[in-house]
Amino acid sequence: MANLKINAMGLEFKNPVLTASGTYGFGEEFSEIYDVSILGGICSKGLTLNGRSGNTGIRLWETPMGLMNSIGLQNPGVDSFIHQELPRMKSYNTIIAANLGGHCDEDYYEGIYKLNETDVDLIELNISCPNVKSGGMAFGIKSAVAYDIVSKLRKICKKPLMVKLSPNAENISEMSIACEAAGADGISLINTVQALAIDIKKRKAVFDNIYAGLSGPCVKPIALRMVRDAAKSVKIPVCGLGGIMSAEDVVEFIMAGATLVQIGTGNFIKPDIAVDIINGLSEYMDREGIKSLDEIRGII
């Protein structure tokens, strides 16, 4: 049988398939449906230093083969995560990544200090949040801003650090290079694409925040392009995501250069989709006589 193991960022993953932040909670609900220890890893809901109650108004909107969301990082805060969620998550016997967001440097520092002292395996740094100091522009738009925050955090972070890039970045290749230069152990992409929906009956934007993030199958062709751009630009591992719904989609991301992948919106469409995908990947490899995913990684 095919060997799905992946060594990356100093960690051993059972297989390349993780679940994406914000689409999997802290794993508890899914553990009632299937054995989540089959996963390569779980990325926690996006955490902020202090808890947040998230955005007002409508938070979800369906688009053609896409989902727009404006959850607004509702989360219990890093402390609560460490005490209420992490112990159970660690019992799942898979790689646990804490997805950490922040609105200023200090938020990130304190979050990292706290996570340093836990047995979380990996920190996924979400740099898509609006940066209060840069006038609300996200950390993840300009490479120089990202370089600055990532290199500062790299110095204090005792865990492997994977930086999650926004597709709204001005230049994905430059951004990837900046993160690598700043010492990131890996990068993941894409986060959601900034988008707008309008309710013409109400003559208003659907979301109170006006813009929201687009995900799902509709963004896959864009995500694949960006993953290839990133993978061609850096040597650190790239974790690819955006619209993955099948094992074949995973293979595409790997051919585009991804070492790992994440399933996001797909978890909503068929809640046990990760099981199908992991099994499907292993069947694909057997069928195609592929012994290791290294054989097809980055061949495009």
Binding site: R59, L60, N69, Q74
Partner: protein, 245 residues
């Protein structure tokens, strides 16, 4: 709670835009729980939340109104076609802690979850059903099978009483009111229950993506902070809700 491909036993139109769908299913379901339904093609993306209307041996029944893409697509399914069911989901009505006599009040398609509720409650509940008119009424006789008293109210009086269903309930008689329907109806009931010191539970609707509590998209603002309609609800005690919603 599980994800299954289920075979459709029947999918019949029961009234204008209203369909009743029976699917193979074996399992325990609490009244007020719901499933996420998805056709197997890709004509829409997210599964749609639909309440359990009835549960019989080896089959679950849904009553739904065609609103948009998803429900319209579901309405085209026929016998032996397959559908993806995910559930049962949500808390359901807390029927073990009812005190006094119970009123079950439904408006329009909001009556969907109430049939199974009434069936399980047995003869202990009075049922109030509100519709726009006779043409837009459905499954009334099903309710009559299970409930001692079924009061039907239509806005134009073409069936049963004339007026708004909320005006035909003698709130004081009841220990608890359980309700599902348009927000405006439920708000009126909540107000009346408060005035009369009657316990009131409402089943709420929110846009949903996961239906299982992970996406945090279906927020209901409560006095104890944000709750998830799909996991902490859809049934909430009216005491808990932050009003003015």
């Amino acid at each position: 709670m599980k994800v299954v491909k289920s075979k459709i036993i029947k999918n019949e139109k029961v009234s204008k835009n209203i369909y009743r769908l029976s699917c193979e299913f074996a399992g325990i379901i609490k009244p007020g729980q719901f499933f996420m339904l998805k056709t197997l093609d890709n004509s829409y993306l997210l599964p749609r939340p639909i309440s359990v209307h009835d549960l019989c041996e080896n089959k679950v029944v849904f009553l739904y109104r065609t609103e948009g893409k998803g429900t319209t697509k579901i309405s085209t399914l026929r016998e032996n076609d397959e559908i993806q069911l995910f559930g049962p989901l949500g808390n359901g009505f807390d029927i073990d802690n009812l005190s006094g006599k119970t009123a079950v009040v439904g408006g329009g398609i909001g009556i969907a979850p109430l049939l199974y509720l009434v069936k399980v409650l047995g003869k202990n509940a009075d049922v109030f059903l509100g519709f726009k008119d006779e043409e837009n009424s459905y499954v009334v006789n099903e309710f009559k099978k299970y409930a001692d008293r079924t009061i039907v109210v239509t806005e134009d009086g073409s069936m049963g009483e004339k007026g708004f269903v909320t005006d035909f309930i003698s709130y004081k008689e009841y220990g608890t009111v359980l309700t599902c329907g348009p927000e405006i109806m439920m708000n009126k009931i909540i107000n009346n229950c408060m005035e009369n010191n009657v316990k009131c539970y409402v089943s709420l609707e929110r846009r949903m993506a996961c239906g299982m509590g992970v996406c945090l998209g279906c927020t209901v603002e409560t006095k104890n902070g944000n709750k998830r309609a799909c996991k902490d609800g859809p049934v909430f005690s009216s005491d808990e809700l932050v009003r003015g919603e």
